[in-house]
Amino acid sequence: MTLHTPSRRQLLVTGGALFAWSYLPRFAHAADGRDPRFVVMILRGALDGLAAVAPISDPAYQALHGQQALSASGDKPALPLDNFFALHPAMPNFARLYGLRQAAVVHATTTAYRQRSHFDGQDVLESGYRLPGKTDSGWLNRALEQLPKGERIAVKGKGLAVGASTPLILRGGASVTGWAPSTLPAVQDDLEQRLLALYRERDSGLASALEQGVAIEKVAQREAGSMRPVGGNVIEAMRIPARGAAKLIAANDGPRFAALAFDGWDTHVNEGGTTGRLAQLLAGLDGAIEEFEKGLGDSWKNTVVAVVTEFGRTARINGTAGTDHGTGTVAFLAGGALNGGRVIADWPGLRDADLFEGRDLKATTDLRGVMKGLLADHLGLGATVLGERVFPESQDVKPMKGLIV
């Protein structure tokens, strides 16, 4: 996050605009006049891909997931995606988008990381490097830096970091603005105004920062109702940041890239099946995607949301009705710009011999190729830039084709 410190005169000129740099031309993508939005949601803790999108026709699946396995029948039947895969019943909104060809699943995928530390796995997922330990900048920030300069885009704050601190994926040289749904009671407008008046007299740097902070908060909260989740409601707690972020990237002069992170996916104990802990989290995720669809309105057609996690979990249920750290998992893609309605998978199978190190779903699709495909076709980044700068040392990982309409 960087502070933009315009002179007092500039501030007066830009007046009530959301971002002080809004005099810059709008993000306009090439000649087709599209104004694309790109959102990345990070699920920290490692999502159980086999529980979220179940290969219900794989003969080995039911035995591996036992009581927790999804099924096409029963009380809460899984939502069929094709003849082989079915979606967790907690995600009806995603299933609806899938039917509209505005959602897709990539299965048996992960990054280049093959160990099982959350910490390192998240570093690799977000930094875009092959190995852990690089925490200076993230791939989404470097993608922002690489956007075509000729169109005078991405000059200031075109990235939105949702949360108290900027996640690694959005850290780096390109300036990013931050917003976090406030969990504290808001102060009175009157106090805000008095303080701003004092800052304008005494400290233009603080005036500019607070002015923008107040403006951002107002847009994020517009028509959003209360931003405070009702006591421990996981689903609402995940919808709220998405709701605010959607308002901000929908704004004419708002950012165009956003990154959010959701914790809690490390389901070692009592993961649950069609109901339970993971089901709650998936319902929250489904809600967050719906918030973006609703909040973006017309701009949804120019939007892609990618949901990624650091790695998968063991194919077998462990001794405490959960799963342990694994390898291959799913990525969810949604958005009006997506060429969806498909599960993209080079399915490795689930027999003992098929499993990675005898325990995990093997990863047959490099997640970097999926992200590169989105950045190439949605945002117009070239293969060289993607292979050298955005995802360093990944020239051998080809951008996946045909993901965008």
Binding site: T2, Q62, A63, W179, R194, L206, A209, I216
Partner: protein, 484 residues
Amino acid sequence: MTASINAQMALVALNRFGLGARGGNSGDLANAAADPRGFVKAELASPRTALLEGPNLRPTEDLFAELYGLLRQRREALAQAKQIANQTAPNTQASDASPSPTPPASPQPPRPNVNIVQDRFQADALARIQRAHAPACGFVERLVGFWSNHFCISAIKGPGVRITAGAFEREAIRPHVLGSFADMVKAVEQHPTMLAYLDNAVSVGPNSRAGQNRRRGLNENLARETLELHTLGVDGGYTQADVTALARIITGWTIVGPPGQLGRPGTFAFNKNAHEPGPQVLLGKTYADEGVVQGEKALNDLARHPSAARFIATKFARHFVADQPPPALVEKLTKVFRDSDGNLKALSLALIDDDTAWSAPLTKMRSPYDFIIAASRMVARGPGQPQRYLGSLRLMGAPLWQPPGPNGFADTNAAWATPNGMKTRLDIAGQIAKRLGNLTDPEEALDAVAGEAASAETRQAIGRAESREQAMALVVMSPEFQRR
């Protein structure tokens, strides 16, 4: 000097160098005004000032021992649960839709008390926060904060780092903030918490006995950050070959595990079996393989390297004076660091004695930690519990002992004076004012923290506030309180 110049100097002493004036009858502002430099230097008299001890504060080895015990309990519980699950497994294999009439009790292991990790973390956090309320100036606590961020660890790494996060600061940082830089480097790089955080505990020399037997190999993480972040700086003139050489040199630097083969569990150990044999060339100098001494000699040379002097001097001046510190000040501090062989008390004294350090305008922002501590000192109320402080720090994007990466929290205005940062700070100020607004007179509070140095505009805004609560929020958000 006129009263207002004295007041301005007092503000520099308390805000730039310290943690802000304490309210009540502390007299901090008047004392600082009477002798600004003496006020800051007073804390440097005894090197023990920085130490932190207490009945609830345990040494690292005890904390690791506790954690090992927890993990053993958990393993046993899991094994037990697995056994139960296996006994009932035949009933659960059926995958047809009809549920069995009496489903077996789901295998629930007795939950180990994982809260111990959080309890120990919070005990250390509380002690640190309480300590910050004690001194008149708080310069030494600021030094602790500076060095702790320079040699940061992050509690997010896992329970081992979390449970010992405070102990690391007590054992590796505090004893040396007025001592020798080389001693601090050695204490840090040999501390179990750092060895866990930057993975050196699992680094194995490829040609060591362990490397020949197992698949594990070299991990360069700690070696790289030692060069890049701890000593020479990224432009300090080292190559990838130097990183690899240092990584090999410090192979075998590890933490004693639960069996205690190498010493007391949870302490630093040199594991000869994992140490890469043979001499190594680092920055053009050959270090013979003398076991642990090979690494100690290498660190000693790194701590005395000219690049380290410049790197530390620049960072020190940036922290205390300005994002772009006066070049002459950086030169002076570099020379003092070099000439004194990295004596950190000499470095601090040189900073306090420099005129530009007092005359440079107060353009830096208080960090989130310094902000909430200053607010709480202002109302002269130390905490009984740390949770509210820790929650506020999290909301401001600066959770205690949990920076986003090994480079620590950013130390520039740009990092904290963000739109989101200022809005959150205001919301937190609102909470502080709500709790305390009616207990303290806002104008007295302003007099206590800024006195004559308060601007007419700030004074007026506070005087015209519609309530004491609103006025208190304005005091803690005023430029005089936010800037340092």
